[in-house]
Structures are given as C-alpha cells and as structure tokens.
Symmetry: C3
Subunit: 262 residues, 3 copies
C-alpha cells in the first residue's frame, strides 16, 4: 500500500493512546468477527467504530470512552485500521500489559509498542472503508429483552449448530423462557433458559430466524462471564449488546433476520 | 429418513430413562469405536447392545443394568440409535448432568433432554442394523487371562503402532509377563508388563496377532484408570472386557486374530 | 536398510548407556531442528555430535560429558542415529524415566529400553552421513555477546516472523540493547531488550541478517528458562549456545547470515 492512500488531514495531527492489551484485544476480536479492517473515529468522547460485514447481514458498533485508556490524547481524527495485524501484535502481550499507540505524523503510520515490541503499522485509507447504515436511525420494534451470561448464549448457538444452518431466537411468553431452536432434516433441537436462569428478562412475543454461522461468529469473541443483552422482535434484526473495558466501553451487534420457510 | 422406516411395534410403547451423562457417553464412545449406529434392546434386566464392525473383524457387547439409571421405565423394546448424533448431544453436558431419554410414541423419535437442551432425534429402523454372531455360542479356548490398567494397555498399543500395523499380544509363561510386540521393516518393539505391574494374571501359553488400528480404536474410549481384563489364547479372538457405570455395566470386545506371516 | 550398511568396526564393540529421558529428548530435539539423522561419536570425554542442515545454512554441535549419564560404558565408537524414531520412543517416557541404550554387537542394532518398552532400532551407516565443517577452525570476528532467557529470544523471533522471512539481529551500542528487527512490505517491527532485561551483555557494533525460519527452528527446542548466549558480529554467522543436562552438556548452533538488500 502506498502512503499516498492516507488522507491529508492526518498529516499534522497527533494521537497518543495507552490502553491495557486486554481491552484492545477484545475490541479487535469483536470487530474482527465481521470485518478485516475498520474505520476508527476519535473525538472528545472517546473511540468509535461502526462496521458492517461485506454481505451486509450484520453490523457492529463499538465505543470506548476516554476512561478506558490510561492515556487519551487525540485530536478529532479518523484512522483505517487493519484488524488482523493489530491482533497479531496483541497476541504477543499479556492482558495486563499496557499498549502504547502513537501516530507518526510524518510517515502516517501507527506505532504500536507493547512488552518490548515496537511495531510500525501501515494504515488503510479510512475513506476506502464502507460505512454501515446508521442503525439508530432505523426504528425497529423490539417486543422483548433478555440479559444472559455469554456462556449460556454460546451453548444455545452450539445446540442449533448441531442440526441446521439457521436458528430461531425468541421468547416463549407463556413460560417467560428464552428459547433458541433449530430444525434439521431429521432432528430438532431447542435450548431453553428459564426466567430464573436469566440475568434479566422483559418478555413479549418475539421470534425470528437467524444464520447460525453469523451467531457463532458474533458470540465467539464475547469474553466469558459477560452479561449480554438481546433485544428481540418478530422478523426484526437481533440486537446483541454488552459492556466492555470494565464498563468504559459498549459493543452492539445487529444481525438481520432470515425469511423463515413456511 | 422417513418415519415409515421405524417399525410398528414401537407405536404404543413407552420408554423413560434418566441416566448420568458420563455413563451414556462412555457407552456411545465404546460402541462408536466399531459402528455408527446400533440396535439397543431393553428388558427387565436393563439395556443390551451387541454390534459388529462393518468388516466383521471386531464385535462389542454392552450391558447396563437398571441400577445404572436414575429412572428405568421401559417395556421390552428395540431401538436403532445413531451414535454420533447422540454423542454430539452429550458433548454439551457435564459428566454429572442427568440425561433424560423419552420415546415419543406418536412421532417415534427419541427426546433427549440434558442441561437445558431438548433434542429430538430420528431413530434408525432396528431391523436394518446387522446382528453380530452370538459370541457366547462360540467356544474359544483361552489359555491365559490378564487384568491391567487401561493406561498401561494404551501404552502397549502405542508402542506397537511405532513400527507396524500388526501387534502380537501374548503372555510369556517363563516370566509371567504380559507382552505386546511388533516387528517393522527395520525396527522391533516390545512392551512388557511384569506380574507385579498387572492387577491380576493367570498365565498359560498364549500369542496371537491383531490389527493395531483395531486395538487403538478399541482401547481409546476406555476411561482412564479402568481395570481391563484380557482373555488370550493362540490364534483365537482377543477378549477385552471391563466394568462401566460404577459396576452397573459391563463391556466386552472380541477382536479376531490375523494370520501371522511365517 | 540392510545390516550390511553398518560398518565393520562396530562388530565387537560394546556400548551401554543409561541416561534420563529428558536429557536424551532435549538432545534429539536440538539435533532434529536441523537434521533427520546424525553421526554420534563416543569417547572418554563423552558423546559428541556435529551436524549441518542439508542446505548448509546452519550447523549444530552437541557434547554430553560422561557425568550426564547414569551409566557410560563405551569404547571409542561412531553410530549413525535416526533422530525421529528415537524421538518417537522417548515420547513414551516421562522426563525422569531412565533410558537404557545398548548396542547389540551381533545385529548391530541399538536396543533402547525405557518404561517397560524395549525398542530395537536399526542404525544408519555413519559414513553415509555428511560431516559439517569444523566451526572451531573458522575464525569469525564476534564484536558483541549477549546472554538472555530462551523465552525472550523466542518472542524476538516471533515478532520478526509477523512481517518478514528475514530478521536483523544485533546490538545497539548507544543504548546497550539487544534488538531483533524486521521489515515487511508495509510494516516494520523491532523487539528490543534493554541491558537490565538481559542476563549478560558485552556490547560492540553488531548487525546481521538471518532467516526467520531457521531462527524459529533453532529456538523452538531450547527448554523454557534456559540462558542462551548469542555471539554477534557484522555479517558473520550467529553463534547461539546454551548448557544442557544440568551443565553436563553443551549445545552450539551456528547460523549463516543472509546478504541484506541495500
């Protein structure tokens, strides 16, 4: 990649961040579930990413407030970040290690320093990265909301994966249970979590069909022991959100429904 | 598979079992070493399976008495069970979890419930599954018997596997040792366990040649720390048996000998 | 391999060794990093191996004094040893197990006994194995020497591997730091260890380019927690040495430099 693909506004700007490796690794894993590179926006309120997978089936937004960082010195700025390479670098660090990120205004490359390692990373032109639609502007009607442990959610997806490529995610208003179910050629499966097995539950009629592959990709990077909140409806996107960085960050996935066979 | 392949006698029968996941998983692993599906027979004395691998080289019998189950309510019945799918379901459970198995008399499918999971499994026509010969009717002359730890047996097989596809299993009457040996193109190997390294030993002259692939498949699913009893002779099938389900179950493999090169 | 390929001098000789499995396994791993078979020489001062990889890029020498062995009874002798098969046998042993090695003067095969296993190994004609040049006779000018933990060295190599197939290994005389760096098409990386992160350091100007693949192969078998001494210069082979067998053994690798692109 030639450096001329980096946009001029970066030229004189400064960016100096220090952040725990675990925080940054969760961020790259969460984003890497859907895209290979992403546009990161920095402002006074912190770091913001919105991305959509190439097939436009799922999107993700990630926000980290300045309090998630040990050092947060940055002018308003946008960077195009290659996620896999950043993940490679972070794989050399322990979770407690502090990662230092500095933008070199001359070369317009990102210096990543962690645990004795100094990595100089070519960035991607942020204008060459596609924007997702702004999900906040879409007005979906969610009829139910469920909060559960990420491990239980992961088991639900794994159960559906045994028999089909698609899973029905919903709530059963009669029993207040959260249910993920799937039907294969010969076998059916349902994974059911009762109200007392959920962290929180606000139940209405809700049932939509989603791709198991996407569900698996989305659920995999969520750290163990995380409370995940699902907002559900009938044939609407699944909203899946959780806090990160000890509450200083927020992640939200939106996954489009598939049309059920009738 | 259409449901019409399930035989009529199941139609009005009942079957309700509750059993620890670990017990059922050992059973599916032991049977899965030789076959993909098996015919399970239930009567007042418990669950019985006899199966032979497609190449008719090895057979296995498994018996679980009603005391191996928390609940054992079943009329005389035969079911054709797809082992790999049952194993998939059990892989979602912890060993202590209780698995509930119920036959739906209408759909003739097996309901498997464990750890929040409800799996509905299409069964196989039991009449479409080949029967093994009744090994009890075959009158082999065993000249020696050896009981040893499953880990030691596994090491013996692994040793033979280094140099050849066939292993000689026998006892050395001079030294009362159990010996597994193999000869390759350039190298030879012998794994020898002395009487004091065996749990039990009743020694006579015995030596036969067996397939290492089959030995490996048979030994792999035996849980660590299990006492395994081998009955041995000269050019007769190897009998390999052990208790399961805390003594409420019994497994026996029989492996046909290969003709030695002379 | 026919036994006639074994040379006559072995015919009446004796060789009886007893050695901890861990000592022998480190030796086979260290040698196996570069060659599949090697010529082992025995004399009053112990066991000696010198070997060079088929591409003649790297060589290794290994010496184990008689004190590394529980039993060391051997006349002057040379054996050609197939390393992978010996490694297979050792994989059956625990580190504390004692391995007994005996040369059968009749069959000229090596008897390896460990943990109930008796393995009879065909040897390789030692005259058919290529000799490396004697590195002691080559008079390289090393300008710096660094001793560091094997784990830190391994991280350096892994860092370089992220961006390139070649790494620059050197010291920075200004900061007394040991530096491994690499340049890829878009990204650069440097792994830097300051003097206080090194076990020992004697610094002069030194910088050479080496193959990352070779560095990785060489560093991998070095046991965790080992102090490794590097001797460095400008466009000279890298010397990498460490003690083994609790100080009763010594290993030295020499890795030829690559010509840097200018």
């Amino acid at each position: 990649m030639s450096e001329s693909t980096l946009t001029a506004p970066l030229a004189d700007s400064t960016l100096r961040l220090v952040v725990p490796a675990a925080t940054l690794r969760t961020a790259t894993d969460v984003l890497g579930a859907l895209v290979e590179e992403c546009r990161v926006r920095f402002d006074d309120e912190g770091l913001h990413v919105a991305a959509m997978d190439p097939a436009t089936v799922a999107s993700v937004s990630l926000d980290l407030s300045p309090s998630a960082f040990e050092t947060y010195e940055v002018e308003d700025k946008r960077l195009g970040v290659p996620l896999e390479r950043l993940d490679d670098v972070l794989s050399m660090a322990s979770g407690d290690d502090l990662v230092s990120l500095t933008l070199d205004p001359e070369t317009r490359r990102l210096h990543v320093a962690v645990a004795g390692l100094e990595y100089t990373m070519a960035l991607v032109d942020p204008d060459a990265i596609r924007s997702p639609p702004d999900l906040d502007e879409l007005d979906f009607e969610y009829s139910a909301s469920v909060t559960l442990d990420s491990g239980a959610l992961s088991r639900s997806v794994r159960a559906a994966d045994m028999v089909s490529t698609h899973a029905t995610v919903g709530v059963d208003p009669d029993t207040d249970a959260f249910v993920v179910s799937a039907s294969g050629d010969t076998d059916d499966v349902a994974h059911r979590l009762r109200r007392d097995e959920l962290v929180d539950c606000s139940v209405g009629e809700a049932e939509s069909l989603y791709s198991v592959d996407y569900l698996r990709s989305i659920v995999r990077p969520i750290p163990a022991g995380t409370d995940v909140t699902l907002r559900l409806g009938t044939e609407v996107p699944l909203s899946l959100s959780f806090a990160t960085a000890d509450g200083a960050g927020q992640v939200e996935y939106a996954l489009s429904p598939r049309i059920a066979r009738h």
